[in-house]
């Protein structure tokens, strides 16, 4: 059992790497614990395409359900909602991660990569000098010149190898989601005001996480929608509703329910995601014989309610493949080219730039104040009773009644503008 490259994990990162390496003539094996590639895949619902065009332009032939044309953000409280909407031009598409992953698996298989499913890797194998020389599963040892760790967010293997510590509640969030199927594709389009192939991406702040850090989301697939909640683990002890009931509360909220009425529950899933990816990054992304890609490396951007991981995963997989191709040998020194590539690509600069976003998003008061304030102001502004308020009066009254200081909000805004 000897390969040029062994990839642990058949997610977007591992499969992208395998595809590129196999295309370049390497003997590649992907080890995936699921029954099929994609059978353990769960995410929000959309993939951003700007960087995919550069790193994996083939994606345009992938199973794309819809292109996002309507983008909504709603500040939601128990009984009020304020929604901002914008139209967008084909910068992202919505599709189940299962579809995207199985497409990518076919692509890499066709290029010559071997994908072995139902195999849980237990250990990254090292030689007596500590170099990574393959993987272990049960009593089997598979030897490889290079190992790519694409095991995703839980990264048991990196932990067992002593490269990273156990995940902490401060660095991760859990996402819980339902997929609801409509009677027909047309019915979904009518409900959400979409044309054929047009899609909607909708995020919610406030109510879905009981005003704690995190948010809600709704994406339209072909004839189903993905609706879910992402909750930062560090705030768990302030939750009043157990996390397994949060999605139901969002689905049944009077502002959301009319959109999904009558839809049938197809699936219920959960998975963790890094909060601020770079804050859970391993000390290095390359070691003797080993490269780390995707979620396992913390390559993910989470700006409050938007999560971008798939394009980072794919791009880092592609860069790891390039690094192996150019390295000549698997020494850490030769593989340091991967780190250089990360730094000169969008990945590292973007993650660095958002490093401090944590300080804002981690601030629990923001998730309470902003939605309550925004809905309060708009509600007041549009309420005509004994007095007709100016916008400023509406702001001041809301501030007084909700105890949210205007000044504090302004500071948030300023910080947010700088960091998000």
């Amino acid at each position: 059992m000897k390969f040029d490259v062994a990839v642990v994990g058949g997610g977007p990162a591992g499969l992208a790497a395998a595809y590129k390496l196999a295309s370049a003539g390497f003997r590649v094996v992907v080890l995936e614990r699921g029954r099929e590639p994609g059978s353990k895949a769960m995410y929000g619902g959309r993939v951003y395409t700007h960087w995919l065009d550069k790193y994996l332009p083939e994606f345009r032939k992938a199973a794309i359900d819809r292109w996002v044309t309507r983008e909504l953000v709603t500040f939601l409280t128990e009984d009020k909602a304020v929604t901002l909407e914008t139209t967008t031009e084909r910068g992202s598409f919505v599709t189940p991660l299962v579809s995207f992953t199985s497409w990518l698996a076919r692509l890499s298989r066709d290029a010559g990569a071997q994908i072995v499913t139902e195999i849980t890797v237990d250990q990254l194998a090292r030689d007596e000098r500590g170099r990574f020389v393959g993987v272990k599963s049960g009593s089997d040892f598979l030897r490889a010149d290079y190992v790519i760790d694409a095991e995703g967010v839980n990264r048991l293997l990196l932990e067992r190898a002593g490269i990273v510590e156990r995940l902490k509640p401060e660095t991760v969030a859990v996402g819980v989601k339902e997929v609801l199927k409509f009677e027909s594709r047309k019915l979904l389009e009518e409900r959400f005001g979409l044309g054929e192939e047009e899609g909607l991406a909708w995020t919610f702040a406030g109510y879905p996480t009981e005003y704690l850090p995190g948010g809600g989301f709704l994406y339209t697939y072909r004839d189903s929608v993905a609706i879910g909640v992402v909750m930062y683990l560090k705030s768990w002890d302030k939750l009043k509703t157990p996390v397994y009931d949060l999605v139901e509360k969002l689905r049944l909220h009077p502002y959301v329910a009319p959109y999904v009425r009558g839809a049938m529950l197809l699936e219920y899933g959960a998975r963790m995601t890094p909060v601020v990816g770079i804050n859970m990054a391993p000390p290095k992304f390359h070691y003797d014989g080993l490269l780390i890609v995707g979620d396992a490396a913390g390559f993910l951007l989470h700006t409050g309610v938007l999560i971008r991981g798939v394009d980072f995963a794919v791009a880092s997989g592609v860069l790891a493949a390039e690094a192996i191709r150019e390295s000549g040998d698997p020494s850490a020194e030769a593989l340091s080219i991967y780190e250089k590539k990360l730094k000169s690509s969008f990945i590292y600069p973007q993650l660095e730039k958002f490093r401090n976003v944590d300080r804002i998003l981690g601030d629990e008061t923001l998730f309470r104040d902003l939605p309550i304030f925004a809905t309060g102001v708009v509600n007041r502004y549009f309420t005509i009773d004994d007095k007709h308020r100016t916008l400023f009066e509406a702001l001041r009254e809301t501030s007084k009644e909700t105890n949210v200081s205007l000044f504090k909000l302004l500071i948030y805004m300023a910080r947010a503008v700088r960091n998000i």
């Binding site: 059992m1 094996v29 029954r35 009593s139 089997d140």
Partner: protein
């Protein structure tokens, strides 16, 4: 010894099965298929006997090409090779027509078989017909609910357990023979990386041009039975019961509770 395991690509152990309220048939969309869970008991049983007596285990399935995944999984567990009998003409088969294809595949590709092993039943159709019907097509003896067996010369000494009666029985069968294995009586081994890597090389796909079966004996045309209706059952809620005490007492109480709930009828000395 030559062992044959018959297997079906079935829904996994716990799976949402929806019945279309309009047509009354199973909704197939998004229903994944894998080796029938009780067939893994049969595979473990055969592998364990092979390890004891030497020889070869061949897995055989009649299925569309989606059956490949299930067979590869069994090869991953240690089955030496697998044969998938796959042909459009086989579609729509009931158990009788399926058993016909299986028996003929055995006769043609493993003519010197000693023991055919099947699971107790399939999880998604629960007929438990295939073992008995294959045995009658092959003209050999059949025994079901087996959980343990030994070989002496050409004789199989098999133990079986009858749940409803709560009795253990010992049988002697002349081989070749067919047996079905009591479900969850074995602990199926894990899928191994070293086996799974080369699974495809040990898989043979045969169609009717190779088997040459009479069109009237296979598929829908060869099926004397049909399903005329289905109705959904209600989901029972998950239950959690804490039982504490000395191990012996706990076991007794567990047995009692299971009996009360109707999960088992009788509990006796299943080793």
């Amino acid at each position: 010894m030559k062992f044959v395991v018959l297997t079906k690509a079935a829904v996994p152990l716990s799976s949402a099965i929806r019945i279309d309220p309009k047509t009354g048939t199973l909704v197939r969309e998004g229903v994944p298929l894998t080796a029938n869970v009780w067939d893994r008991d049969a595979v473990e049983f055969a592998l364990e006997m092979r390890d004891r007596y030497g020889g070869e285990v061949v897995a055989i399935s009649m299925a569309p090409p989606t059956g490949i995944l299930a067979l590869e999984s069994l090869i991953g567990m240690g089955v030496d090779r697998a044969i998938l009998a796959s042909d459009r003409a086989f579609a729509g088969a009931d158990t009788w027509a399926t058993a016909h294809v299986l028996a003929k595949t055995i006769e043609k590709y493993v003519p010197d078989f000693d023991l055919v092993v099947t699971g107790e039943e399939t999880i998604d159709s629960t007929t438990a017909h295939i073992g008995a019907q294959t045995a009658s097509w092959l003209g050999v003896p059949y025994l079901y609910y087996v959980y343990n067996a030994e070989v002496r010369g050409r004789t199989l000494i098999a133990k079986r357990f009858l749940e409803d009666e709560g009795v253990d029985e010992v049988y002697e069968l002349k081989m070749p023979a067919v047996i079905s294995v009591l479900r969850s009586s074995q602990i199926p081994r894990e899928v191994k990386l070293s086996r799974k890597l080369t699974a495809r090389e040990h898989l043979q796909i045969v169609d009717n041009s190779k088997l040459g079966l009479d069109q009237d004996c296979v598929g829908l045309r060869g099926s004397p039975t049909m399903v005329v209706g289905m109705s959904p059952a209600a989901y029972p809620p998950r239950k959690r019961i804490v039982i504490s005490g000395a191990p012996g007492e706990v076991a007794k109480k567990v047995a009692e509770v299971l009996r009360e709930l109707g999960v088992v009828c009788a509990v006796s000395g299943l080793q």
